[in-house]
């Protein structure tokens, strides 16, 4: 009994220490991220990565289910992965110590990748690749800020289409660039209304769905699913913007705020993500029947 307990400590103390240290390093940061996502208290750019709310626990779950295979992987003895791992570790350390928001955020996926490389080499990286990918794609950064100036054509397109739809319903809507004049009230399709956030979230959740259902392996399924996701996301966003312009133009301020920054927006997001599950199921049926017919 005594010896068994000793060997248990012997076997696992390093893992426990490693996980404990990682928790000490990054728990405050993750709390900060979640706080920013749930209370929308950091910045618009930060909210672009709110898919991390489900993505990060899913990544942790995947890493946990991989633990037996991880243990069985041989210690890495090649110099190359150690070198890359230690370089990455060095940069992650510098970024962490800098105390700058962007750099500290970025240090999280870097650190995790470095540890995988350092301990189990490229095989280890491959094993945890998808989980690491989910973490990296949920790490808040300033890319949304940098691409915002380039979404202008998309904004113009959305404004134009929304104006067209409103005109079909007999409303007096005039489009001028990214501005929609509905009953002489002005609605602006701002860069952050271009629907990129919902698009990113949809693609991220789509990625998780593909992995979960195992459809990841079919290349044509992947392509078709992501294309459909993009199309559905853009159409849904045009409909959303049309409703926003309609509410604003007809003076229904409450309804406007409900959909724009109230829980109506969350309902819209949930509906959109639900649609992805339906889409995945429908495509699956299509592909399964296709498979059976070819057999």
């Amino acid at each position: 009994m005594r010896t068994q307990r000793l060997s248990l400590i012997e076997r696992y103390w390093t893992d426990v220490a490693l996980l404990g240290l990682l928790a000490l390093l990054y728990a405050p940061l993750l709390v900060h991220w979640y706080d920013g996502w749930l209370r929308k208290s950091i910045s618009t750019e930060h909210e672009y990565f709110s898919h991390g709310i489900i993505g990060l626990p899913f990544a942790a779950y995947l890493a946990w289910t991989n633990r037996k295979r991880w243990q069985r992987l041989p210690e890495d003895t090649t110099g190359r992965s150690k070198l890359i791992g230690s370089l990455l570790l060095l940069f992650a350390g510098i970024f962490y110590l800098s105390g700058l928001p962007d750099a500290v955020n970025l240090s999280f996926p870097m650190m995790l990748t470095a540890i995988c490389l350092w301990l189990k080499g490229f095989e280890g990286l491959k094993l945890q690749g998808f989980a690491l990918c989910l973490v990296a794609l949920a790490t808040p950064n300033e890319i949304p800020y940098l691409i915002a100036p380039y979404t202008l054509p998309l904004q113009v397109f959305i404004a134009g289409t929304a104006g067209f739809i409103l005109n079909q319903f007999g409303m007096n809507a005039v489009v001028q660039g990214i501005y929609l004049f509905v009953n002489d009230r002005i609605v602006e399709v701002a860069p952050y209304c271009a629907g990129l956030k919902m698009l990113f979230t949809s693609l991220y959740v789509g990625l998780m769905l593909l992995y979960w259902t195992g459809n990841w392996k079919h290349r044509s399924f992947r392509t078709l699913f992501f294309t459909a996701t993009i199309v559905v996301s853009v159409i849904a966003n045009i409909i959303r913007n049309t409703f926003l312009a309609f509410f604003h133009g007809t003076g229904q301020e409450q309804a406007f705020h409900w959909l724009h920054d109230g829980w109506g927006g969350d309902v819209y997001s949930a509906g959109m993500l639900g649609l992805l599950v339906v889409l995945s199921n429908q495509l699956e049926q299509f592909f399964v029947s296709d498979d059976s017919s070819s057999v």
Binding site: L6, E10, R11, T14, A17, L18, L21, L22, L24, L25, P28, L29, H32, S43, E75, D76, K82, L89, G93, Y96, L97, S98, G99, L100, P101, D102, A103, V104, N105, I115, W118, L119, E142, Y145, L146, A148, P149, L152, Q176, G177, I178, Y179, E188, A190, P191
Partner: protein, 237 residues
């Protein structure tokens, strides 16, 4: 037990080394935060030290050497309050200066030019980038364009020669991404690129060639930049 322990140490050397490194990182980078009761440096970027001067600027306006301010008011454009100054020089040349100083440490320049276009209902063309300034005072780039409001088939509203840029210490550029990389680079030295969005409007003949007015508007743009740098965007700040 000790021998078993030391054996496991040798066997797990890379892992143990990693633990030591991470423990060092915790001591240097994380413990100060925990000891401060959960205050972390990464919660916000370094403070902009001239925020108060920038706020003052919106109240007092910018006195530009060689130019007289005839009228001054705040003007809401898009979601932000701009400072609008009507200027005139000794030759009775008229110009309008629009300024939007940074309001908070996390406020970043974004779509200020689109905001102005929308607010004025402008059509724009002849857009090009012009590099101004000198080696000593720092070079900066502005976008130079022609803007007018189409009113109808016969009537044409005022046409303007326009220069726009985000000004910061020893530099400036119309593109937000340029500001972004300058700022992020400075953050590593615990400094920031405090910014002021500048839009300079020179009334010209209807749909005239803006190039003819370059010699008038360029010196004014230079003066605005250098005045901003001596008054608010000081290099020591």
């Amino acid at each position: 037990m000790l021998t078993a322990f030391s054996k496991s140490l040798r066997w797990q050397f890379p892992k143990v080394l990693l633990i030591v490194l991470l423990a060092g990182l915790v001591c240097l980078g994380t413990l100060p935060g925990y000891l401060a009761g959960g205050k972390w440096r990464w919660q916000a970027p370094p403070q902009v030290k001239v925020l108060r001067d920038l706020k003052e600027l919106t109240k007092t306006g910018l006195a530009i050497p060689g130019w007289q301010t005839l009228k001054q008011k705040t003007q809401t454009i898009g979601e932000h309050e701009w400072l609008q100054q009507e200027l005139s020089d000794a030759n009775q040349t008229k110009a309008t200066l629009l300024l939007l100083p940074q309001r908070g440490s996390t406020r970043q320049p974004q779509v200020e030019w689109t905001d102005i276009n929308g607010f004025k209902g402008w059509r724009t063309d002849s857009q090009r980038q012009v590099e101004l300034g000198s080696q000593e005072s720092g070079r900066f780039t502005v976008q130079f364009l022609r803007a007018w409001t189409p009113l109808g088939a016969e009537t044409l509203s005022q046409t303007y020669a326009v220069m726009q840029w985000y000004a910061w210490t020893n530099g400036g550029h119309p593109s937000p991404s340029r500001w972004f990389f300058t700022d992020r680079f400075l953050q590593w030295q615990n400094r920031r690129a405090a910014w002021v969005a500048v839009s300079l409007l020179l009334p010209i003949e209807p749909l005239d060639d803006v190039e003819k007015y370059r010699s008038t508007i360029e010196p004014l743009a230079q003066t605005v930049q250098s005045t901003l740098m001596t008054k608010v965007l000081r290099p020591d700040a």
